[in-house]
């Protein structure tokens, strides 16, 4: 007896529709799975048998052939357990053949017949929605991420028996009433981090506002304990709210690594990733031997990638960030298949001014030798400086500043307003791309200078020994400052401020 069930698998970050076909014929009792299935799918036969028997159904005494089509795609994961079991039960005529056509299924089975949560539900649901599947049955553990999918009826179930009852119409299926907006309202807790927690540091906050507005790479240099990490952690709070597309993109990434269901919620705040400097290449960029999984740069998609103690990172890891930053995606190739992961993030780096951390500190002495200083600066000046547009030097806040209660400094709310103002002004001028991503041609087009401004830049170029690269970076940053100021033209004060955040051009310069 033949039956066919709709399901999906996830390849990279994309879902792929799969049909599970089951045929039961006469012969020795056995279950054969064909269609490029991985070990996790092959092992499903034991789970399926126990789950069916323990749910109170009969297990067929015949030769069961399972085919996964299209047969030329390599499939892995445990999410085909449920569709395979239901296909067997359909062939056994426990389920109405006409009803089953309206359903897609995703889920892993436990031996007692319970349906367990799986990874990467979101991309699979999106692909089924595209394929116009009306109803999809998913594990209850994955119910929360399903709110992001529109135009599809999601039915979360707990067990195989419940699933059969739903399909046969013995259970009321119309229980999903959560919409995305009400869901966000529900789980969105009041933001606990705020820039107002940090007293003083106004110039650093200003630089961060500019960096976020234009998506410029930012480097914070300062002695240990001056608040670099504290600052970085608060950056997501001033970024504009995620749009629905961004929300889905981010949730897909987290769905793949199974983060969404483990925490029980989908990620609605912009992600903040701060990998340790001992991270491997695959951990940072994504990778793996079979099918690659997203690395930190992809997990930071639509959020902040914060590299603390950036000089401790291997040079080649920083170097390898170049292409993903430019292309906003990273491509891995495994076994002849191309996997593309998105990685559009705000890059923030922090570094000590020297190896011991106290060079130029007002209180403590630096213990580095001249050679150590040089070596450290050489490390900082190379590929790292190419990734950033703004550099700021941070100083420990004095006791006076901390104790001044009336001066709390800028709060996240004020900074966010400035960021949104800058972005919407830039859009109103017809520039939809972030200023940090401007190409050379676009810089020429959008960052034209008047005579007075030209003179300033000419002076600055020689006096501050700028390089052609830092000159362009200054123009980009100046454009962002002008945007925040809602000024159509870049004026001298914008350029001068941008110059104060200029990046180091030679190792002879102080950090």
């Amino acid at each position: 007896m033949f039956s066919k069930i709709k399901s999906a698998v996830c390849i990279g970050i994309e879902g792929k529709a799969i049909n599970v076909e089951v045929d039961i014929s006469n012969g020795l009792p056995n279950m054969n799975i064909v269609g490029l299935a991985s070990t996790s799918i092959m092992e499903a036969r034991e789970r399926i048998k126990s789950a069916i028997l323990n749910s109170g159904y009969e297990y067929p005494r015949g030769r069961i052939t399972v085919n996964l089509t299209p047969a030329d795609i390599h499939k892995s994961g445990s999410n085909l357990d449920l569709p395979m079991a239901i296909a067997v039960l359909t062939s056994m005529q426990y389920i109405d053949r006409r009803e089953i056509e309206k359903y897609g299924l995703i889920g892993e089975l436990s031996l007692d017949g319970n349906v367990l949560g799986v990874e990467a539900v979101l991309p699979m649901l999106l692909c089924m929605a595209q394929d116009k599947v009306e109803n999809v049955i998913i594990p209850r553990a994955n119910a929360s991420e399903a709110v992001l999918v529109d135009g599809i009826n999601i039915i979360p179930v707990n067990s195989l028996r419940e699933c059969v009852d739903v399909i046969n119409g013995r259970l009321d299926t119309d229980e999903r009433s959560v919409t995305l907006s009400s869901y966000i309202e529900e789980i969105s807790n009041p933001e606990c981090l705020d820039f107002a927690d940090i007293r003083g540091q106004d110039s650093a906050k200003r630089a961060i506002t500019i960096a976020v507005t234009g998506r410029h790479g930012l480097l914070m240099v300062g002695s240990p304990g001056c608040g670099k990490t504290m600052m970085a952690k608060r950056i997501p709070t001033i970024m504009p709210k995620m749009t629905t597309e961004e929300l889905v993109e981010t949730a897909i990434v987290y769905s793949i690594i199974g983060k969404n269901n483990r925490e029980g919620t989908i990620c609605i705040d912009r992600p903040f990733r701060s990998p340790h400097n001992s991270i491997g290449r695959a951990g940072l960029m994504g990778g793996g031997t079979q099918s690659p999984i997203p690395g930190e740069i992809t997990l930071a998609h639509n959020g902040v990638l914060f590299l603390d103690e950036v000089c401790e990172f291997d040079r080649d890891k920083i170097e390898s960030l170049r292409q993903p930053i430019e292309e906003k995606s990273i491509t891995h190739i495994r076994n002849g298949i191309t996997y593309t992961f998105p990685c559009n993030f705000q890059l923030v780096m922090a570094a000590n001014p020297c190896k011991c951390g106290y060079y130029g500190d007002s209180e403590r002495m630096c213990k580095c030798s001249q050679n150590q200083l040089l070596q450290y600066r050489r490390k900082m000046s190379g590929p790292m400086m190419d990734r950033i547009d703004l550099r700021i030097r941070m100083e420990k806040v004095s006791y006076e500043e901390i104790s001044e209660i009336e001066n709390k400094g800028l709060s996240s709310c004020e900074m966010k307003t400035a960021v949104e103002k800058g972005i919407s002004f830039s859009k109103s001028m017809g520039r939809y791309k972030s200023n940090g991503d401007m190409t050379d041609a676009e810089i020429d087009e959008y960052c034209s200078l008047g005579t007075e401004e030209e003179a300033l830049m000419k002076n600055a170029y020689s006096k501050l020994s700028l390089s052609p690269r830092s000159y362009r970076k200054t123009l980009k940053v100046a454009r962002t400052i002008a945007d925040i100021d809602e000024s159509e033209r870049i004026r001298c004060e914008h350029l001068a401020e941008a110059l104060s955040y200029r990046v180091m051009t030679s190792i002879n310069e102080e950090t």
Partner: protein, 291 residues
């Protein structure tokens, strides 16, 4: 490019061998020279200091080098990183002549990053001196040894910034044994970078308060360099007066006390930096020169 074939060897019997060097203990048997040999016998000043420096040391060393050069005083130094090289950079700024005494053979000159400075000095009519054959590599004991030549060649020795174990103190030691006048640039008494130079003052070195004093002591006439007048706006004058109150101040503090926005302060300070009025080091604003 520099032609190493022009290296000349001068031994103690030679007329070019400087008289002043002959009188010291343990004079070098021979000198390998590249550049203008007549400088060996000129009345010169040594400017030395440690390799690690502060912005203060950097600007003072450059200023001293430039002032000496402007008045025609040849400046002797060791071409090490830090103060030594800044002194010679100042000499080049003042279009004067520098004498570099190496702790290795001339061809093996180190640190490599100062090699260009050495070439520039020779090109500008200066001189490179070493007691070692040109292919001899530096060893840890050759550097202290060359310090006796630095002081030996000069009439006075100026120590700019030295911490308590700096090689510049060895030079000062040699200088006092050889009967040279020792000047030391006073520094903050709590600065680790100035401990050595301040100790020298305690032990009888002359505090260098005005560079021109040293030039007069050498018997040179003071030549005025070109000091440009710089036009400053109201805000800039306000900020300058604020910067004067501190030894290095952050834009945050200025913005706070002047009740300005940080973005404004940053912009104005950058313009002032372009004008050469202030310098920024480690995120702190310093006065570049007294206005």
């Amino acid at each position: 490019m520099i032609d190493y074939n022009k290296i000349e060897k001068i031994d103690m019997e030679s007329d070019d061998y400087p008289e002043r060097l002959r009188e010291i203990n343990n004079p070098p048997r021979q000198l390998y020279c590249l550049g203008d040999i007549s400088l060996l016998s000129s009345v010169s000043a040594a400017v030395v200091g440690s390799r690690k420096y502060t912005l203060y040391g950097k600007s003072v060393a450059t200023m001293i080098g430039r002032r000496l050069a402007e008045s025609g005083v040849p400046v002797v130094s060791g071409l090490a990183n830090g103060i030594d090289s800044f002194a010679h950079m100042g000499v080049l700024e003042g279009q004067g002549k520098g004498i570099a005494v190496l702790g290795s053979g001339i061809k093996m000159m180190g640190p490599t990053r100062n090699r260009q400075l050495m070439f520039d000095l020779v090109e500008a009519g200066g001189l490179v001196v070493s007691e070692y054959e040109s292919e001899l590599a530096a060893t840890p004991w050759t550097f202290p040894l060359r310090n006796r030549i630095i002081s030996g060649l000069s009439k006075i020795v100026i120590v700019v910034e030295a911490n308590y174990n700096s090689g510049a103190l060895i030079t000062a030691q040699h200088a006092s044994e050889q009967g040279r006048m020792v000047y030391a640039v006073p520094g903050n008494i709590n600065s680790q970078f100035s401990i050595g130079s301040n100790l020298l003052i305690r032990d009888g070195a002359i505090p260098l308060i005005v560079v021109d004093d040293a030039i007069r002591d050498l018997g040179y006439e003071i030549q005025e360099g070109d000091e440009r007048k710089i036009q400053l706006g109201d805000d800039e004058i306000k900020i300058i007066s604020e910067v004067r109150k501190y030894n290095g101040v952050t834009p945050d503090i200025i913005a706070n006390s002047l009740n300005m926005r940080v973005s404004e302060v940053n912009a104005i300070v950058t313009v002032m930096e372009i004008k050469g009025v202030v310098e920024i080091c480690c995120g702190k604003i310093h006065l570049a020169k007294s206005i």
